[in-house]
Symmetry: C2
Subunit: 202 residues, 2 copies
């Protein structure tokens, strides 16, 4: 069982979503594992069946597809968030993504069998599992909509407005990949934005 101080963030995350009784929490604690990754380590590789859902205590992780030798990033997850190839985790089929630490990262994770056990033994687990799936769904709706309704320069400005830490912690060519364009295209977009800003200032 992991030490209490490593679980504080996770417990706060939970209780903010749904009140959990002390007994339920004690049952849950027993199946949690603290794990550390170094920058560059893989949590999941394409072809693995993803066996864990990981709550990030600190650090930064990216999820990407490899298409014709090129990385197509689909998600960045940082501290106080979950990360997983949740699709592979749920379906028990080989992952089609890579999940990689971009910084030294500490996570608290739970295995698939342990989570199924919790779903049976701890009633609140189902509520939490439902809410987490719902939040994932809402997040995906948002990023889908960004792809459909926004121009590339709008997407970029919105992205850095919503997740300003990306600019500090993620190289631009990965932000480009996340936006579905090449680094060159993003560079052009940025210079256009800068020129427009300059005009507005004058």
């Amino acid at each position: 069982m992991p030490p209490k101080d490593k679980l504080e963030k996770l417990k706060a995350f939970y209780t903010q979503l749904f009140p959990i009784t002390e007994e339920s929490w004690e049952v849950t604690r027993r199946v949690l594992t603290v794990r550390s990754y170094r920058k560059g380590d893989f949590l999941v590789r394409e072809g693995d069946v993803c066996n864990y859902v990981s709550f990030i205590n600190n650090g930064l992780i990216r999820v990407y597809y490899l298409v014709d030798g090129k990385e197509k990033i689909v998600r960045f997850s940082n501290e106080i968030n979950y990360v997983s190839d949740y699709e592979s985790f749920l379906t028990r089929r080989p992952a089609l993504t890579f999940v990689q630490a971009m910084e030294d990262t500490e996570v608290v994770d739970i295995s698939y069998p342990d989570l199924q056990m919790l779903y049976q033994k701890v009633p609140e687990a189902n509520v939490l599992g439902r809410m987490i799936a719902e939040q994932l769904f809402i997040f995906m709706c948002n990023s889908n909509r960004a792809g459909i309704k926004e121009s590339i320069s709008e997407r970029y400005t919105n992205l850095i407005a919503q997740q300003p830490w990306l600019l500090q912690r993620v190289p631009q060519y990965m932000i480009a990949s996340y936006m579905g364009i090449t680094p060159e295209a993003l560079s052009r977009v940025r210079s256009r934005i800068q020129k427009k800003d300059a005009v507005l200032v004058n």
Copy 2:
């Protein structure tokens, strides 16, 4: 309370996901409503807060964004599936989509407050709610991946392989919209595919 025969498909859908006790089902039945839409009717309009999740007994429904006066279809749902602006439903914020019947359609729906009541009173409801959110998530992963990994002609051939009924029930310009391209572009893709097929036959 709706007549039993209108709920058979829904009950079969549920029990296949998770066994539900007769008592729980009786509680659930009481809050279900059968509703009919004519071709062209809207279940949700942009700006409405979506108040229902609807299970489709029969018919066909599309969900789309309106961008610069143009419809961008994001989902087709047919019988034995759910439809809703689930994002608006969950967040209780105005919908950003339109949800419209493409054929005369009969649904069984549940309102937001009734579903919250079920989540509190009927333990299985949380399991079902979790599983439905998980399935939605998996579905979105799949369509995201199609957009990322597949060429347009691959997407088209996969689409009609996976959902052949689309071809019969949906005009091509809407399939194009669903694929994120113009009707003209889809028409050209189709003619290219046909030529290739012809070559293979000879």
